[in-house]
Symmetry: C2
Subunit: 189 residues, 2 copies
DNA sequence: ACCTGAACACCGTTCAAGT
DNA sequence: ACCTGAACACCGTTCAAGT
């Protein structure tokens, strides 16, 4: 059984994002990869943005699963937190354009299903933070706010690097080092 | 004395960024605002990216000045730090597309002058962090790394909000609140 | 229900000229 | 040195048909 045309279009778009970035994802190139005419995608997606949203949707679900696995897999919540952050960083490095599609792209969020998937992903991360707070590895402030802070810091470090703003001459270390510093400083009490 | 055509093109591009975002900045629209033919910009900029880089360059210089003013204007370094962060947040809210151009856009940084301006801006921010450390308001870790962390967190909070990822349902507060929480937690020792 | 081919309006960029 | 008009290759999107 082969995938449906719709699934093939999503897969082709994701692959083009990886190999050539956002600008490489033209509906014509996507259609060509699947072997359909250049406007066949309009039978499955409202427009280009909706196709990209479908790619993001799929990845948000995967990411949520990775966070869930991190929570149940570590020896303690602090380790789970580091595992989750590492998963996010690895994903960003392996799929630069897709990372930005999920976490930076404006004009994608109106899709309600996508917002829900993004929210579920955030909640899975928050569950790890909550447990780490319970274990005393993070300060006992309101969990949502603390999660928002850590999420923002990790995202910011990744995004600056992807945009070429973190590079060598500024002297700031890797994304991993920045996140490590944050967790270390938050852990001291 | 009117501005040079080059300056007028930069101003027109910045204005279009504010009113319609990146996609509104077509060389044709820019040229039309200035009253020249649609390809006159090529006499002043290598291509569209170079024009956008010139906009970013101008704003990086302004931002560096704002950081410098924050450093010399506050009663103490902690206040200067909050002023600098507030300036960044205000700029992001007032010029959404321009903020992303400066801090997220890939494929802009190759321009060496722009990299230098971005670096100078970061250094001005680092000077504030260093003084805050000297006053005991921030932990005594390596200044570059701490600056990178704070920069990343502020940027991440802003970028998530600009991308629609910070919004209401997640329950995380405003960018100001997130940054405030970070500085509060870093200040406890 | 799904797909195709032609067409439209729009871009960035290049080029041969013009002053 | 700076600007113009025509042209090229490329897009997203729409539409009238086809099976």
């Amino acid at each position: 059984m082969s995938d449906s045309t719709r699934d093939q279009l999503i897969t082709a778009a994701a692959s083009l994002l990886d190999s050539g970035g956002q600008e490489a994802v033209t509906l014509r190139a996507v259609a060509q990869r699947v072997g359909v005419s250049h406007n066949a995608p309009y039978r499955h997606f409202r427009d280009r943005a909706a196709l990209l949203a479908a790619v993001a949707q799929r990845d948000f679900v995967w990411m949520r699963g990775a966070f869930g696995a991190a929570l149940s897999g570590g020896p303690d919540a602090a380790a789970s937190l580091r595992t989750a952050a590492a998963a996010l960083i690895d994903y960003a490095h392996s799929h630069r354009a897709r990372y930005r599609l999920l976490f930076s792209d404006r004009g994608l969020m109106p899709e309600p299903e996508l917002s829900a998937a993004a929210f579920a992903c955030f909640e899975a991360f928050a569950a790890i933070v909550a447990r780490a707070q319970g274990e005393g590895a993070l300060p006992p402030v309101e969990t949502v706010r603390l999660t928002g802070l850590i999420y923002a810091a990790v995202h910011g470090a990744i995004d600056l690097e992807l945009g070429g703003r973190g590079g060598g001459k500024k002297g700031l270390g890797s994304v991993e080092a920045t996140v490590g510093l944050l967790l270390e400083l938050l852990g001291r009490r």
